[in-house]
């Protein structure tokens, strides 16, 4: 019996996505209960993941109506999107929170590729303040505080959560499109910015703008938190 078929059978019957660790534990447990399962008692993580990846390729090649996906490091069978009309008729619409707005998606993209990242750094890339959006992303559990930056004021840094990977069906952050390229572009430190051209800085708009409609502006986009 081949490991990959055993893994396939497990994933085929599993009620939830399974991580390599859970699969290894299960192989061990089965080996204790059954003579037949003994040869797979101690499978190392590496060959196990290799078998899973081979299995995924098998199913990709077979090009059937379902595939083996790895989301946030856990494996499960999922249907191909083009069959959604029928599966929806069968199980009902998928319950999902409303789609993310454009600003939220842009902010999320920046955080995903550049994490850990401070709010000021994100604002620098987007060229606008992101308070409301950050709150939404945190409330939806897609983004979380991950630490503090080693700069003056020690501002919070943010990163994406496991739910982020799940929400977008990503295996890991490596699975983000063009991950390498987008990570490489350095983010200029915010404090160097403040000493440079004021026009590009992210200081509160009140301090920078000698313009009439500052009042209206602050209604819309509250000034960034001092934290």
């Amino acid at each position: 019996m081949e490991l990959k078929f055993i893994l396939e059978a497990i994933l085929f019957s599993a009620q939830k996505p399974m991580s390599p660790k859970e699969l290894r534990d299960l192989l061990g447990e089965a080996a204790e209960q059954s003579e037949e399962a003994k040869p797979f008692k101690k499978v190392k993580e590496e060959p196990l993941v290799a078998a899973l990846e081979e299995l995924q390729k098998d199913h990709e090649t077979a090009a059937r109506s379902y595939r083996l996906s790895c989301v946030a490091g856990a494996w499960q069978f999922t249907s191909q999107p083009e069959f959604a009309p029928w599966i929806t008729a069968l199980v009902g619409l998928k319950v999902r929170p409303p789609r993310l707005s454009q600003p939220a998606l842009e902010t999320l993209a920046i955080i995903a590729y550049r994490q850990p990242i401070t709010r000021a750094e994100v604002e620098q890339v987007r060229g606008v303040t992101i308070d409301g959006v950050m709150q939404t992303l945190q409330e939806r559990g897609l983004v979380e505080q991950v630490g503090r930056a080693e700069v003056i004021g020690r501002p919070m840094t943010y990163g994406t959560t496991a739910l982020f990977l799940e929400y977008f069906g990503l295996r890991s952050l490596e699975g983000l499109p063009a991950a390498e390229e987008l990570r490489r572009i350095p983010v200029t430190k915010p404090e160097s910015l403040l000493t440079a051209d004021a026009g590009l800085a992210t200081a509160p708009p009140e301090q920078q703008l000698p313009l009439a409609d500052v009042e209206k502006l602050t209604e819309q986009t509250p000034p960034p938190n001092p934290a």
């Binding site: 998928k94 060229g127 606008v128 987008l182 590009l200 313009l211």
Partner: protein, 268 residues
Amino acid sequence: MPEYKVQFEVFEGPLDLLLYLIKKEEVDIYEVNLTELATKFIEYIEVMRLLDLEIAGEFLVMASTLMYIKSRELLPRDQQVAVEEEEEEDPRWELIRQLVEYKKFKDAAVSLQTREIEQENIFPRLPIKPELAAPVPVKPDVSLFDLINAVNAVLKRVSKRDDMREIFEDKWTVSEKIEVLVKLVNERSNLKFSDLFVTVTSRSEVVCTFLALLELIRLKQLVCIQSEDFGDINITKAPEPTAALVEASSSTTSSEHSAIHNPQSAIS
């Protein structure tokens, strides 16, 4: 105010508007004429102001940056160089770098959105929770169908030789056969199913014997064990009067038919 909202949704900030203007010109970001771009951006801001639309602070900051760049461009060349040498960074390049970077994340946001929409149409397989037959340690006790098959075989054998006799009245009853069987098992402690039919003379005797056997199994007096598929069936006294057989019979039902059942097919 509704127009304002529309504006704000179209352009997420000054960089977004700049990218829009560049795209309209169909030029590469690196080759964009910043003086022209600054003029267009400021024109746009002016239109917004004329329409009495609220203008986010970032747009105004960008407008001043662009005006600064534009004014530098308008200076005579020799003075320009002097200014550039004074500064650490050329504001033009800084702006272009920022635009290029922002553009890449904007594209990344689009691909995230594609994935977001695709995910709405991807359903995880939620299998019917598999239900398993009780584990079968060695070979199961004989199943009902094994018994039927076995009796069938005997019936066939007998029918060849007793076609004539069958019309005669049956001299056996099930209760008599039960007594015979109990006696046999007590004597031999281990009896083969085929042994039961060695001496039978009629088909109805076979039926009686079989029914007697079933009855004794039901009464938990006997246990049938088949050590291999289609092998002979051993009949022994039930080890313990009650509990043992209940357990044993629980693994006989359908083990050879399906190792894995789903719960819907099972009975509750």
